[in-house]
């Protein structure tokens, strides 16, 4: 039985061959990382802020049932509707039904990773609706038909020229690839869409449990248009994305904006308590909140991986990850890439054949854990996922054999000495110019790109014994 999806290697090869992608990823992540470090320093006591963030998130996740109930009660009291979706398919159905009920032809969206997670756009388009992403990055990848390559900067991998080529057929006339031309085109296009939108779909960075408010951070202001102009608003929210009150929101917004883009505050921080009340001048008349579980309950019940729910989706771990740096997001194959994607995708999707490679997209260097604003031990979780995969029988038999052999020799040091001496005598076919330079798999995985020193004729343990004997 194959235990590994062969398309993984193809995706990695494709990414590694794409010099532009690699350069763009490196530049963008370096910029985001440097901005984050600066914004964190400015705040002072960053480690204390991280601890506070961790405490808040851990508390919310541990008391999720309480806060969800509070949120739902509050929203319903205000006249909103809440839909609990166990699976992505259920979430899609909820949204479809609302769109169908309103016979809405024009759906506008602001950025939502949950929408990516449930693959919403195609489902709505199949229903005959026009769906427009109004976040610039999301709009670009929507036209390109690609998943986001970064949770904060979804079109990080596109050049301006590629963007111009994507926009041209929509504009109906040639576009130059300079930034003012491209943004002018998008602004005009979006204005039209905002006015036509019958239903607005938004994401949710945080929901405030005690007031029933939805918090969105954006840098283009599109989130505000999507949540004020259409008559109907649907907000998609991951089950864990809560804060108890505005007090905790203050801490989380500081951590989020500074960690994501290095801003003190994002350009637009939108806090809404829909639907429109009699005293409100504007806002949606009808409001639906779709709360997605998608195995988050299972993660919640799993002591080992529960901390994974603490993530606030800032993307800081992407920007320091030496693996993401080399291949960008698409090679992961998942909606969520980077270290956090490598942790949560196998947990959300529960499919080792398809996603079992992800915990190995890490050298366990720990840079992600160091950058995480809520102190997620991401690299520890990656190791524990590997262990889960092994225990679940999703690794090849030969690998089990290799580690059994390792275990034997490294618990029998005297035998190991003999084995090393034998190895030093038998290694000559692999040696060129005094170094091990060629090999058969798995050694060739090393020697194809690197050399290796020869095994010493005498191990240190052997030398030491002999020294002491004399």
């Amino acid at each position: 039985m194959t235990m590994y999806d062969p398309t993984v290697d193809q995706r990695v090869d494709k990414a590694l061959a794409n010099d532009f992608l690699r350069l763009a990823t490196r530049r963008a992540t370096d910029r985001l990382r440097n901005n984050r470090v600066k914004a964190a320093e400015e705040l002072g006591d960053w480690q204390k802020w991280r601890e506070a963030g961790e405490t808040i998130r851990t508390h919310v996740v541990a008391n999720l049932d309480f806060y969800l109930k509070q949120l739902i009660t509050q929203i319903e009291k205000q006249g909103g509707h809440v839909h609990l979706a166990k699976t992505p398919a259920e979430a899609v159905t909820f949204v479809k039904n609302i769109v169908r009920e309103h016979k809405a032809k024009n759906v506008i969206k602001s950025k939502s990773m949950i929408s990516e997670e449930i693959h919403l756009n195609h489902a709505l388009e199949d229903e005959g609706s026009t769906v427009i992403e109004t976040d610039l990055g999301e709009y670009i990848i929507q036209i390109a038909g690609e998943p986001p390559s970064h949770i904060i900067v979804p079109a990080m991998h596109k050049t301006r020229q590629q963007v111009a080529d994507l926009f041209e057929p929509i504009a109906g006339h040639p576009l130059t690839s300079d930034t003012p031309t491209l943004t002018r085109f998008v602004r005009n296009k979006m204005r039209e869409s905002f006015l036509q939108g019958e239903i607005g779909i938004t994401g949710c960075n945080f929901a405030v449990a005690d007031t029933g408010s939805i918090v969105m951070v954006t840098n283009e202001g599109n989130g505000r248009m999507v949540s004020t102009l259409p008559r109907v608003q649907i907000t998609l929210m991951g089950m864990e994305r809560l804060v108890p009150s505005f007090r905790e929101l203050d801490v989380m917004l500081n951590l989020l904006a500074r960690s994501a883009t290095g801003q003190k505050f994002s350009s637009y921080t939108t806090i809404l308590t829909p639907p429109k009340q009699a005293s409100d001048p504007d806002g949606p008349e009808e409001f639906h909140l779709v709360i997605l579980d998608h195995n988050r309950s299972e993660i919640l019940g799993d002591k080992t991986f529960r901390p994974a729910l603490n993530c606030i989706r800032c993307g800081a771990c992407f920007n320091v990850c030496p693996v993401y740096r080399q291949i960008g997001g698409h090679a992961y194959g998942s909606v969520y890439a980077g270290p956090i994607g490598a942790v949560i995708t196998p947990l959300l999707e529960n499919d080792w054949y398809k996603w079992g490679h992800l915990p190995f997209f890490s050298s366990l260097c720990g840079a992600c854990s160091e950058a995480c604003p809520v102190r997620l031990p991401l690299h520890d979780l990656l190791v524990k996922l590997r262990a889960r995969k092994v225990v679940g029988g999703h690794t090849p038999k030969i690998e089990h054999q290799i580690f059994k052999t390792y275990r034997f020799f490294f618990t029998h040091e005297k035998t190991l000495r003999k084995a090393l001496r034998l190895g030093s005598k038998l290694q000559w076919p692999l040696v060129r110019n005094g170094r091990i330079s060629v090999g058969i798999p798995p050694l060739s995985n090393w020697t194809n790109s690197r050399t290796l020193p020869k095994v010493s004729p005498k191990s240190f343990m052997q030398m030491w014994s002999e020294l002491n004997r004399n």
């Binding site: 290697d9 720990g366 020799f409 330079s437 995985n445 690197r450 191990s459 240190f460």
Partner: protein, 242 residues
């Protein structure tokens, strides 16, 4: 002090001179050195691959071999970090060994950490002429927090010029079994690290983890741009000969 050496599997098999030099330096500093038999590996190879049961067995062997030691010193931030950072996880359901593991954690040090922070002897009287750059390996800095101990030792070596390494904090792509399990990713990572080493203009690359150094120097040699590479113990050993 009576110091027990943790040879580490890599140095034991491929770079025994590092262990020998470590013994020589500690003896020179007036300590009694021993090398308990039975020790072989911290277990990280299996642990990082998800084979916790195999790792646990190897770790038990290591713990037992140092049971009667007062101080344990090893020439690798990564192996010592494995003990400090992961043994509590590995033995969380095994109270007897958890206690033993904690004993080992409290008495074990990475070499530079021991010499600089515990012995407080940053100046070993070494001299070595070279333009050197230092790669701060991930586990030594992030998991073990050895900080500037290696740089402190290097700054006290007469004749050694230190030049900065761009993006020094980036992983070199070794990652133990990662280097052979994910060879393409690993190679892309080491290619960038190697380029930074070349760009630094250094004629000597120094570090505290032979795994990382073996990876970077092995790559540089493969692309025919070899840069002299030394573990800090080798560097100090050479510098103290004069």
């Amino acid at each position: 002090m009576k110091v027990s050496l943790f040879a580490t599997c890599l140095a034991n098999a491929l770079y025994p001179d590092i262990d020998l030099t470590m013994a020589r330096i500690l003896t020179y500093l007036g300590h009694t050195v021993d090398v308990p038999e039975g020790q072989a590996c911290c277990g990280q190879i299996a642990f990082n691959s998800g084979y916790f049961d195999d790792a646990r067995e190897v770790a038990r062997t290591l713990i037992d071999s140092f049971e009667h030691s007062e101080i344990v010193v090893g020439p690798s931030g990564s192996c010592i970090a494995m003990i400090h950072h992961y043994y509590p996880t590995l033995f969380e359901n095994e109270p007897a060994y958890l206690k033993k593991a904690n004993d080992l954690i409290h008495k074990s040090y990475e070499f530079t950490q021991f010499v600089v922070d515990v012995l407080k002897t940053p100046d070993l009287g070494a001299s070595y002429s070279a333009k050197a750059t230092y790669h701060p390996s991930c586990h030594a800095t992030r998991l073990l927090s050895i900080g500037d101990a290696p740089l402190t030792l290097m700054k006290h070596i007469k004749g050694l010029e230190l030049v900065p390494l761009t993006e020094a904090q980036l992983c070199c792509g070794f990652g133990g079994t990662f280097s052979v399990k994910m060879p393409k990713l690993s190679t892309a990572m080491v290619a960038e690290k190697a380029q930074h080493v070349l760009d630094s203009g250094a004629d000597l690359l120094v570090g505290v983890d032979m795994g990382c150094l073996m990876n970077i120097s092995g790559y540089l040699e493969k692309i025919n741009k070899p840069v002299k590479t030394m573990h800090i113990i080798q560097l100090l050993g050479e510098g103290m000969k004069s």
